[in-house]
């Protein structure tokens, strides 16, 4: 038995290459586990699946993100001083009082929100129907 010969060999006696190679030829790298095939071929995602996944992700982002984004925009737009440029002439036109100032801010914020929302809807529609 080669194993017995190997076991009996003195520690300082190196085996010859032929014996070593013969020993190596009694083993081999293990083969793949059977489940690797399904793991590889089942888990891989093809380009078509990727395209569908991208489209679904875009739709989901629009559906979930739009209400969140508009509510955040409304909150920030209604902060005092958030819109300043065109507000003052409108407030002056409405009497220039403190109430007129607040009303002008509200009107401008509403207009800005509407414009932003229309722009986003236009963009989302173009993304879904290129």
């Amino acid at each position: 038995m080669n194993d017995e010969r190997d076991a009996e060999r003195a520690p300082d006696e190196p085996p010859h290459d032929e014996e070593l190679v013969a020993l190596l030829r009694r083993v081999r790298p293990a083969g793949p586990r059977p489940e690797l095939r399904s793991r590889i071929l089942g888990a891989s995602v093809g380009p078509r699946a990727l395209a569908w996944a991208a489209a679904a992700a875009a739709l989901l982002a629009v559906a979930v993100g739009l209400p969140v984004w508009t509510s955040r925009l409304a909150a920030s737009a209604l902060r005092p001083g958030a819109i300043d440029m065109p507000v003052q002439p409108l407030a002056d036109l409405m009497g220039g009082t403190e109430d007129a100032q607040r009303a002008a801010v509200l009107i401008m914020a509403t207009e800005r929100l509407r414009a932003e929302r229309d722009a986003v809807r236009g963009g989302a529609s173009a993304a879904v129907n290129p």
Partner: protein, 166 residues
């Protein structure tokens, strides 16, 4: 006849070459799980991109698996995970049907000794001993000169001799 879908092509190639590629990766990495990762990575890319413009799929896949293996070895090395000695003895198995089957202890000792070799030497050992390629054929496979391959083989045997008789 329409071209095969990448998924079908990948399945066909896995069935014909997967086992050999896995054994090759398993020997370069001396690690079954890492070999699975390398082979999976290559076949996932194959499914995603197909084999456009590839004239020799076997050669292409072997190169791709080889690159994936060395990339994994580099990652292990850069993370400070010791490459040598990190092997799992299960990456070697006794050749079935051998009239003189290798004992469990010898297999463990061989796996440890082979696991201590650098990946390049394990690769050459695999191509020459386990796949039965000549040095010239091995050299063509890995893109090195036959003398480099022969030298790696000699170093591998010398180190194995030293480890096994030490």
């Amino acid at each position: 006849m329409p071209p095969a879908e990448p998924e079908d092509e990948a399945a066909r190639l896995y069935d014909s070459l997967g086992e050999a590629l896995y054994r090759y990766a398993s020997m370069i990495l001396a690690d079954r799980e890492a070999a699975e990762d390398a082979v999976q990575q290559v076949f996932a890319a194959l499914v995603a991109r197909g084999l456009r413009g590839v004239s020799d799929p076997e050669r292409y896949l072997r190169r791709a698996v080889r690159n994936a293996c060395y990339s994994l070895l580099r990652q292990r090395s850069s993370r400070g995970t010791p490459v040598a000695g990190s092997s799992d003895a299960d990456f070697l198995e006794a050749v079935p049907g051998n009239a003189d089957p290798v004992s469990h202890e010898i297999r463990i000792a061989l796996a440890a000794a082979i696991g201590d070799l650098p990946g390049e030497q394990r690769e050459v050992l695999h191509l020459h001993v386990f796949e039965g390629r000549t040095f010239r054929e091995s050299a063509e496979t890995i893109g090195e000169s036959p003398s480099t391959v022969a030298s790696r083989y000699r170093y591998a045997l010398a180190k194995l001799r030293q480890t096994l008789s030490g």
